[in-house]
Subunit: 199 residues, 2 copies
DNA sequence: TTACGTACCGAACGCATGTTACGTACCTGG
DNA sequence: CCAGGTACGTAACATGCGTTCGGTACGTAA
């Protein structure tokens, strides 16, 4: 029997940490077995014990990205409606260092995803799920009178996601111009513009 | 003297075409001297005659991307104000095959740009210029009463760019869900929501 | 104890990459 | 005509990559 049955998951966690560090400052283009190995001061052969091929490592990196995104600390959800949408989008924006790293890695993964059909549909599904998560809150907002009665929640969800991720990209490239306050103000103005009150 | 002084630029144009083809379906991660060479049925040595190093080839690819973006066919600009902004943003969205390829290559370049400080500031500057191009039209729109008098043109330009590029990314990954009509409708609704009329 | 399977290292392999060197064809200037 | 420089192609080079292989240490099972 294996000498340390519980260590295996612990080791994989160590590898995950090293993969994350590499991705955060080199991106997927700089993700290599040796870079990960030297980042945790082990040999490449050790990596192969836990991830038999590089595809497996990349798959693990993407899983890790999705997992860390799902398990990131989130704001409490305030009252239903646009306030909830605001909290969800604030949780996406690169306001803290961790958020910045996570977003940076997501953007980096797009190069890979666009070149691989399987990864591309995975990313498309992820967007679909994100819109589906936001949509009920927009429906609630409409019911509360925070949106025009003619508003299309599905389309608005796509618009909100578009605004948010477009802001993410601009903020990643020019963090000095998009500090936390600016991002929050842009989000608030964007959400306010969705409100009813026009002819 | 060189045997064909005018051919040099013609040859570089051929190389550009091959580089473009490679980028369009492999991205920057798949841009290699041999992939370009085989894409135009020549040897790698021939490439080195025109681009002595790979950095030069990458720099040329980025220049090409910027040039093709700048020189792409554009809609006529209608009346000043939001209608002009609409035309500018429509010119960005991936509505045609060429637009899709161009946007795909831009997104692919972000992985490279985020890992290289020089390229990152270049991309940041590009965004600054794009916002600066849109901003005067937003000021005109405000003067025309198409925007609230309290509107901040610089911030609105950033918001419009964010919405547009966020939509670009979603559309690239899920073109079936974002056909031309959907993208245009989203843009129109987004611009309409900026209008005055609220308390 | 022995036997065995796991964990891991270090070195090597095969391959693709960027780059360089050498050779040849060709056009141009004298 | 010839001399020389340019435009390639061919072949080799060194490097870094993913992957494989033998070997050692160790803990468990019998």
């Amino acid at each position: 029997m294996p000498p340390a049955p519980g260590d295996r998951e612990a080791r994989r966690k160590d590898v995950s940490e090293a993969v994350w560090r590499v991705l955060a400052d080199k991106g997927f283009g700089g993700l290599t077995l040796r870079s990960v190995a030297t980042a945790m001061n082990v040999s490449t052969g050790m990596l192969m014990h836990y991830f038999p091929t590089k595809r497996a490592l990349i798959a693990h990196a993407l899983d890790l990205l999705e997992k860390r995104t799902a398990e990131r600390p989130r704001r409490e959800r305030p009252a239903e409606g646009l306030a909830s949408v605001r909290a969800m989008l604030l949780d996406i924006l690169p306001l803290t260092g961790d958020d910045t790293a996570r977003n940076r890695i997501w953007v980096s993964s797009w190069d890979l995803a666009l070149a691989d059909e399987g990864l591309a549909t995975g990313q498309a599904d992820r967007y679909t799920r994100l819109r589906a998560t936001i949509r009920p809150h927009l429906e609630a907002a409409r019911a509360l009178g925070e949106l025009p009665t003619t508003a299309d929640p599905e389309q608005l969800a796509a618009t909100a996601v578009a605004f948010t991720h477009g802001l993410v990209v601009q903020a990643l490239f020019d963090p000095g111009r998009f500090p936390e306050g600016v991002q929050a103000a842009m989000l608030d103005d964007f959400l306010a513009s969705l409100g009813p009150g026009r002819t």
